[in-house]
Symmetry: C2
Subunit: 417 residues, 2 copies
């Protein structure tokens, strides 16, 4: 446990414990701190409860040189973080006129008036540095004690992110660290964890000082290499060698480096190749289009998507012949190809991509069970489809199918298929 | 802190600390345990590290009567959970022929052969009860000590969920508890947290024994009521009265009860009204269709979705007149209405719904800033649009816009609009 780079995250809110909210804040903060060379060792999630918050604070402050806490700064009675943290740092809470002025300004912009409830947010801990909230109304706080930093941020994701970018990251960039921790991610797709492991297992012999982890995702397994050394240059050298080894063993399955997404990689390939694409989806219900349009600037290569859920829609818009659906079924290689060809034709794009399958939970038969999915591809030179058998679970099937569709596009654009 | 209902969750995996994976497992388990009347008080997330896992185990077992741990049971060298947990419970690890037979059976089904790496998964802690993995290869474990239960489950979401359903929940249902904890969720949409708080704040005076929390989500703020009492009947009575009060104060914004989703509520309304819908999306890029088709059985009311990203697509498929786009822009009330009318016409559905806006980060102007979104609606009697101003963030804007579109549908179907 190295204290000079050890970081912890505390997430506060009952909604996180009862599963109503998935803790995306901790993931975001973990990613940012890791990028900055901190070793995130622990995330504690507790409710808006005095005793539990106090316990989490003590524990984190005992172990880590950097703590980032989020949540419980809202205007309602159940938001108690400010009070508990102030007690922990033995700080009074005082009225801060500048903060009220900022809140007033924001409300004017929204065309609303400041209520008594919102005024409470101008009460702040005396010992803390105030971090302005440029998006919402709850300010953040920074406590510093024995060269340890303790950030308190709001739980609303947009507000938290903005404050991380504007207030937290710039402050952390200024601090020097004695040990450097660096890591590299090699995300893969289209190969199982144990097959990948068997391909690359010699790595452990050749690179005893590089830690290798296998991290399964909906898209595929991500390999993570981690190194600690005295300098960034030393770290990067070892990481480069390790990555080169893994690429030699499993290169075709590795779709990128770092925290990139499959859709981002595909977007870049489409952009580089000046290729346009249109998508016809059945079982994924719009998820492939949603993924592709998550990438800023997607209008350069993404023209349109058709969610042809009913057979009628497949025939009407995409021109899938009635006899193809009748003879082979809507979930078939033939229908997938006809959908890809159809969407390419009506959109006048270079590529047409399609997905048809049985997402479940119902609709499966012995010949065509739930999880059976066909991905169709069409360009001016050829049309074909790929068959997959995924799981029993509707949402998981939608995710895996979308990843398989994007991966097919990737492999085509790289000349693998 | 009530030990007879206190539960904790331990999530293991570096990918959770570095933000590569969002911890959806903890959310799922938290939801299930809460439904069963347990009070989930703490989620500890640590890496695949011997010292940290051991620390998390000690802490959770000291405090809780029920612990559910996930992750680190995979076949690769960095999966150390089985070993650390066995050491913690002072159990040897032994070879279990039945587990190997199950793994063999599963691999035969997949058409693959069992490698040495996979054989390791048949080594199990002697003191634990084995929980069969009916989806993957890593078995789960149950340790019992001084009437406290300690479940160890795989980290792959589909495997974990299946094991929760088949092995964990049935065992927990059999146990009796002295104190009953019950809660009720009232999700809202279309109202800010402080406005909602001001509407319902008298609740605190009238119901001092019912805990009320405000939980912000992308869809809107969820109100959570919690009660502890000697019997479920007592709890439910208090919860009912509390809910009735809140509905009187903010009924139109409350779209359902419990862990329902806005899309599920809309789906039920469409189904009940025998209404069909089609969707034309621009800035949401398929997310509205994706949401609607996440509900099983969506083919009953959802006919098709058009992701008309380019202006050409808006004109071609949806028949938006060229002069509407030229005179008012693609992001305008007029275009939103034309899109909704167009998709309704080509799909022959009862309702046409549309979204057009500027998701960002680029594309904004002083008159039409990033975050400006129009939702269009059309049925046989009328067409109209609603204007929204969301945030600077692309993904957040897509989510908020989708929620606003679904909420418009809800309000129309309920006769509010």
């Amino acid at each position: 446990m190295n204290e000079t780079i050890r970081a912890e995250i505390i997430s506060i809110g009952y909604e996180l414990l009862t599963g109503m909210t998935v803790n995306t804040n901790a993931a975001y903060i973990g990613e940012k701190l890791t990028e900055l060379g901190y070793e995130v060792c622990w995330i504690s999630t507790v409710g808006d409860d005095d005793t539990e918050i106090m316990h989490a604070l003590k524990q984190a402050c005992d172990r880590a040189c950097l703590v980032v806490l989020t949540g419980g700064l809202g205007p309602t009675h159940d938001d108690i973080t400010k009070e508990v943290v102030s007690r922990f740092f033995e700080s009074k809470i005082i009225f801060h006129p500048d903060v009220l002025a900022q809140i007033r300004k924001r409300f004017r912009m929204w065309g609303r008036t400041v209520s008594e409830t919102n005024r409470q947010q101008a009460m702040v801990p005396e010992k803390a540095e105030i971090l302005e909230n440029t998006v919402g109304t709850a300010p953040g706080f920074l406590f510093e004690k024995e060269s340890r930093l303790f950030f308190v941020l709001p739980g609303i994701p947009t507000e938290m992110r903005e404050m991380m970018e504007i207030s937290v990251i710039p402050r952390l960039l200024k601090r020097k660290k004695e040990i450097v921790l660096r890591s590299k991610l090699l995300p893969t797709t289209g190969i199982s964890e144990s097959e990948l492991y068997d391909r690359v297992r010699d790595f452990l012999v050749h690179f005893p000082n590089v830690k290798l982890a296998f991290l399964p995702q909906a898209t595929g397994v991500v390999m993570r290499l981690t190194v600690k050394a005295a300098s960034a240059v030393q770290c990067d050298e070892m990481l480069e060698k390790g990555a080169a080894f893994l690429k030699k063993k499993a290169g075709r399955f590795i779709f990128g480096e770092g925290n990139t997404s499959l859709e981002k990689v595909v977007a870049d390939l489409l952009f580089k190749n000046k290729c346009t694409v249109s998508v016809a989806e059945s079982c994924t219900g719009g998820l492939v289009s949603h993924k592709l349009t998550n990438v800023p600037g997607s209008s350069h290569y993404f023209n349109r998507g058709i969610v042809a859920y009913s057979n009628q829609a497949k025939m009407d818009i995409l021109g899938v012949p009635e006899n193809v659906i009748r003879d082979f079924g809507a979930v078939s290689s033939e229908s997938a190809v006809a959908m890809a060809e159809g969407v390419r034709r009506i959109s006048r794009t270079d590529i047409g991509l399609s997905v048809t399958g049985i997402a479940g939970p119902s609709g499966g038969t012995p010949e065509k069970p739930v999880g059976l999915v066909f991905i169709g591809y069409s360009d001016k030179a050829r049309s074909f489809s790929e068959r997959h058998q995924f799981s029993q679970e509707r949402l998981w099937n939608k995710k895996r199918s979308s990843a398989a569709a994007l991966d097919l596009l990737r492999r085509v654009l790289l000349g693998y298929v």
